[in-house]
């Protein structure tokens, strides 16, 4: 498959945005600017990027607790994302959601999700909707290796298979569910093998190779759009940081981390572009600077934004009922 330079550059741009956004979030969390739980996507950028590069604007994705990368790759607005991490009124969820619940229905982003595995079922439902409405949209469902032991994985893949729903199930196999290594949480090596149970195609790719991800997912989205049903795509990757910020990662070795740092998907992409003359070092530097700027703007936007009003706490529970406020 031959990708245009434009496509390649746009993918690189996405990866870099994710990288920079996450590095910034990491720093802000450490400084105590961002509260709650933060799960970073550092090291896995190629998956969301390659996968979402196959999509149209009106396609859908479901995401996870580790969702920033997916949301950026699907075109999410980093100002609104950052403001949400800060819990501000201008955030994607008006400060009610936080990192684990960012969504943008208008861009087909059906939400990050704090419940491991919940996205599988929601994705199947979105697939049913597409199929029923007869459009050629497709649904990408992102999830981790750990979530493939959750009940929902099984139910959703089975339903999607028998109803031939246009869903691509994308497993980000980063080797761990918190401290539980894949070899301890399941007895298989390739999660793609589970496709057999639903008689759907299952493929395993190098999740740090954005082109490999693109190719596999592109194949799968094509099948989906042609009414040929779901595919399971496993992307082997690694998270550079702990499970959440603050995790001392005692369950893995420094050597293992080092090994994977050498396979850093962003650096790999940069090397590819330099070697293939798509970009020069200067271009890289100016791109990086430009994105740093964008991120800085997002942080400023978040910091300058107002906090949500207390009364807003009782809004949005229902479309038509506003709960009683606090009697104080």
């Amino acid at each position: 498959m031959k990708l245009s330079n434009e496509k390649i550059l746009s993918m690189y741009d996405t990866m870099l945005k994710i990288r920079k956004f996450e590095e910034k979030a990491m720093g802000l969390f450490a400084e105590g600017e961002i509260p709650g739980f933060v799960h970073l996507y550092l090291g896995e950028e190629a998956v969301a990027t390659g996968a979402c590069a196959t999509l149209e604007a009106d396609d859908f994705i479901t995401s996870t607790h580790r969702g920033h990368g997916h949301i950026i790759a699907k075109g999410g607005d980093m100002n609104f994302m950052m403001a949400e991490l800060y819990g501000k009124e201008t955030g994607y969820c008006k400060g009610k959601g936080g990192s684990m619940h960012i969504a943008d229905r208008s861009k087909g982003i059906l939400g990050a999700n704090g419940i491991v595995g919940a996205g599988h079922n929601i994705a199947a439902g979105a697939g049913l909707s597409v199929k029923h409405r007869g459009t050629d949209q497709v649904v990408l469902c992102f999830f981790g290796d750990g979530s493939t032991n959750q009940s929902t994985f099984h139910e959703a893949l089975n339903l999607s298979s028998i109803w031939k729903l246009p869903v691509v199930f994308i497993c980000e196999n980063n080797g761990y569910g918190i401290s539980m290594s894949q070899e301890r949480h399941q007895a298989i090596k390739d999660i793609a093998d589970r496709a057999v149970a639903y008689n759907i195609p299952g493929v395993t790719v190098d999740g740090n190779d954005v082109f490999a991800v693109y190719e596999a997912v592109n194949e799968a989205t094509k099948r989906a759009r042609k009414n040929q049903g779901p595919t399971l795509v496993e992307c082997k990757t690694y998270r550079h940081r702990g499970h959440f910020e603050g995790d001392p990662t005692m369950y893995r070795t420094d050597e293992e981390l080092q090994e994977w740092l050498e396979k850093d998907p962003v650096k790999r992409m940069e090397k590819f572009m330099l070697e293939n003359g798509i970009l020069g070092q200067e271009d890289l530097d100016s791109k990086t600077a430009a994105i740093d700027e964008v991120i800085a703007t997002a942080v400023k936007f978040a910091q300058d934004s107002p906090k949500p009003s207390l009364e807003s706490a009782v809004e949005n529970v229902y479309s038509d009922i506003v709960e009683e406020v606090k009697v104080r």
């Binding site: 969820c93 009610k96 939400g111 439902g125 979105a126 409405r133 229902y318």
Partner: protein, 323 residues
Amino acid sequence: MRTMTYGEGIREGMRIRMMEDPNVIIFGEDVGQFGGCFGVTAGMYEEFSGERVRDTPISEGVIIGAAVGSAATGLKPIAELMFMDFSTVGMDQLVNQAAKMRYMFGGKIALPMVVRLPSGGGVRAAAQHSQSLESWFTHVPGLKVVYPSNAADAAGMMLTAIDDDNPVIFVEHKAIYAIKGEVPDVIEPIPFGKASVKKEGTDVTILTYGKQVYDALSAAETLAKDGIDAEVVDLRSLYPLDKEAISASLKKTGKIVLVSEEVKRGGYIGEIAAMIAEEFFFDLDAPIQRVGALNTPIPFSGELEDYVLPNDIDIVNTVKKLF
């Protein structure tokens, strides 16, 4: 006016909206050709095709989950679980997804979905097929919970449920599917949050919903013979709750007996009692009484089940304690 069973009323409500809107679809276990475990969807597969009346595998999680995902993306799904007891299998999708998505996303999503839950006992189906769990759902902000007691309400409230942009838990009592009632020729949506006074009275308020409306009415007849004039109020909608109707009746009678088939401890009538004790305390001239099921799982044997569930005699006896 025409006559219909409760089950037919539910079906009629679904049919009306399905004829109008191709994006209203039904799915659940054996809802297709089989017509549903209690026959509520009988004939709909033939009328609307298997694309719109879909049999699912035995996977309650993805039944609810698919309702969430499809409602979020343009459909108006009606999901049927065979028994309310099985909502335990799909609880996460109901409670952590359906109920919370709008709020978590800052109001920027609509979830027009209905989940039908056949509930209650009386059919010798034992502990895992007879529960009344409505109090769980009323405790979850983001869900609306309705529980019609007759064909006309079932039909009208089904329209409202389908039209609603929020997840609606539509509870049905499985022992009254065959009870007939009058239904208007033109079925109109019945707004949620409006109770219905089934019998006026001045001495005591019997507040209930679902199957217990029949028990309450029969209790009221018995009580009338003893000179006690009971008012019977059918809540119909558990959340939103018609506080005004409760307050109005209580102002009139000063005494209230709450009736539900739930296990008494932690039932929704406890919430209503607490609300009354908090907000309408000074309208009370007697302790608030509750009639619920005993605090046990539902036993299989007919005698035991009848003993455990509340009935009209229990209501009569409880009312009499107040006089």
